[in-house]
């Protein structure tokens, strides 16, 4: 499993997957639907899947003396490593916005989503959607990724829309502030649990599918 993860990093991954981590800095853009940045992180990971198809990565992997199920697990592990690296950056930038930049004028009058624990919760929800709608279903064929990616785009854009709309609903304005932090951290905790559950179940399903697949 460790060797497969090394293979993911050294042979399978595409450079854009790493470079797109820079999109986490979108957290600082005022007046912008910053949750889109989570989509860009996933789009960066998508480049690794595309690269894998171009370089016969799947066939190379199944010919190695390794379990097919572990090959799927290694890909999920790689995806999670990138997502968690992005999450750490998002968290650091959010902490900066909530402390040092807390009183900055562009954020005080921001009609769009501000970064706070609820923003981080939505980041994890978008990541969970990617893992459940794209990464897992990709292993139905280990080749076709158009339909799963369109499914992810659709659902993640709806999520961005919902996240932007929620704090305009009377009574939910605190979702876009630094108020009621215990409630916000509870939302973050729930979304983290959702991320873990959806990713794990998607991985198990993908392992089963991949094991039965004719390549």
């Amino acid at each position: 499993m460790k060797n497969l993860l090394v293979k993911e990093i050294r042979l399978s991954s595409h450079i854009l997957t790493y470079l797109f981590l820079a999109f986490t800095a979108m957290t600082f853009i005022p007046g912008y639907p910053i949750l889109i940045s989570a989509f860009f992180i996933c789009f960066g990971i998508f480049q690794t899947f595309q690269n894998g198809r171009e370089t016969n990565d799947v066939l190379y992997t199944v010919l190695l003396p390794a379990e097919k199920r572990d090959a799927v697990k290694a890909r999920f592990a790689f995806v999670c490593v990138i997502q968690l690296a992005a999450f750490v950056l998002f968290a650091v930038f959010t902490a900066l916005r909530m402390t040092l930049l807390g009183d900055a004028a562009p954020y005080a009058e921001n009609p769009m989503m501000n970064s706070n624990p609820v923003f981080l919760a939505f980041i994890l929800i978008v990541f969970a959607e990617f893992n459940a709608l794209f990464v897992g279903p990709f292993y139905k064929t280990a080749y076709k990724f158009g339909r799963p990616f369109i499914a992810f785009i659709t659902v993640s854009m709806i999520t961005v829309g919902v996240a932007e709309a929620l704090h305009h609903i009377p009574g939910l304005g605190f979702l876009n502030t630094a108020e009621k932090l215990p409630v916000q951290f509870a939302a973050l905790f729930v979304s983290a649990a959702l991320y873990a559950a959806l990713t794990a179940s998607s991985c198990v399903k993908a392992q089963r599918r991949f094991d039965l697949l004719d390549l």
Binding site: R10, L11, T55, N56, L59, L63, L64, P65, D214
Partner: protein, 247 residues
């Protein structure tokens, strides 16, 4: 002698094509040519052996172990090369090998360097910079560096110039002499004339014959005249298009 590879009653059905039942075996230190026309089922059979394609029924044992249940252990001891497949065409050979060797318990760096030298491979090159013949040699280098006892090669001589083909056949013969078993599919029968010990002939998904090369040719002899493999294949496969077109 226990065969190194034993295929028994292998069946795989696709819409419009049925493979099998296919049965044959490969012994240690032998070269088996797996011949048949394009589309006869050679690649499907090899992929089924490697568990890349899942047969509907039948069994495959390699090194005395059922492949399905012992895939990881079996793959430690065999090497596979497809015809024109490029792995990571833009990565350096040294990078590909640097990762690949992590998976093999018997990887031997000294052997790897020896085969790089023997085959004239530059580890700083990428697979896309290699000719078809050199790509096959790269796959062989990797297989031999982890001391593969069985090489399964899918059309390794297709697309090669006559000199490269001749060189490759020489390599197969040298490997056989060192105890390595080689199973290679081809539709170029002259390859087998030069080096095969056994011939397994597949036609429309069914095994026509699987025997030593001599016995195989003898079985097609008429009036004391022994045909060569090409004549046998043409006699078995040729369709009369003149008659069909005249209808």
């Amino acid at each position: 002698m226990t065969p190194l590879l034993e295929v028994k009653e292998l069946v795989k059905t696709y819409p419009g094509f049925r493979l099998g039942p296919v049965s044959f075996s490969v012994n240690a230190g032998s070269i088996t040519g797996f011949i048949g026309r394009n589309g006869a089922g050679k690649t499907t059979t090899l992929k089924s052996i490697l568990n890349i394609v899942h047969p509907d029924s039948g069994s495959v044992s390699i090194f005395g172990m059922p492949v399905r249940e012992n895939e990881k252990a079996v793959k430690q001891r065999l090497g596979y090369a497809g015809g024109a497949v490029d792995w990571y065409p833009r990565k350096k050979i040294s990078d590909i090998v640097g990762v690949t060797k992590l998976f093999y318990e018997n990887w031997d760096d000294a052997e790897y360097k020896k085969y790089l030298d023997v085959f004239g491979l530059d580890p700083g090159k990428t697979p896309r910079e290699l000719s078809e013949g050199m790509k096959v040699k790269l796959n062989l280098t990797i297989a031999l560096s982890h001391k593969a006892e069985l090489l399964i090669l899918d059309e390794p001589t297709s697309g090669l110039d006559p000199v490269s083909r001749e060189e490759l056949l020489d390599i197969f013969t040298a490997l056989r002499d060192r105890g390595v078993a080689v199973l290679f599919s081809t539709h170029i029968t002259s390859d087998l004339d030069k080096c095969a010990d056994h011939v397994t002939y597949i036609k429309k998904g069914m095994i026509v014959a699987s025997d030593t090369k001599e016995a195989f040719i003898d079985s097609f002899a008429k009036d004391g005249i022994r045909p060569d493999l090409e004549e046998i294949m043409i006699a078995c496969e040729k369709e009369d298009f003149r008659e069909k077109l005249a209808r």
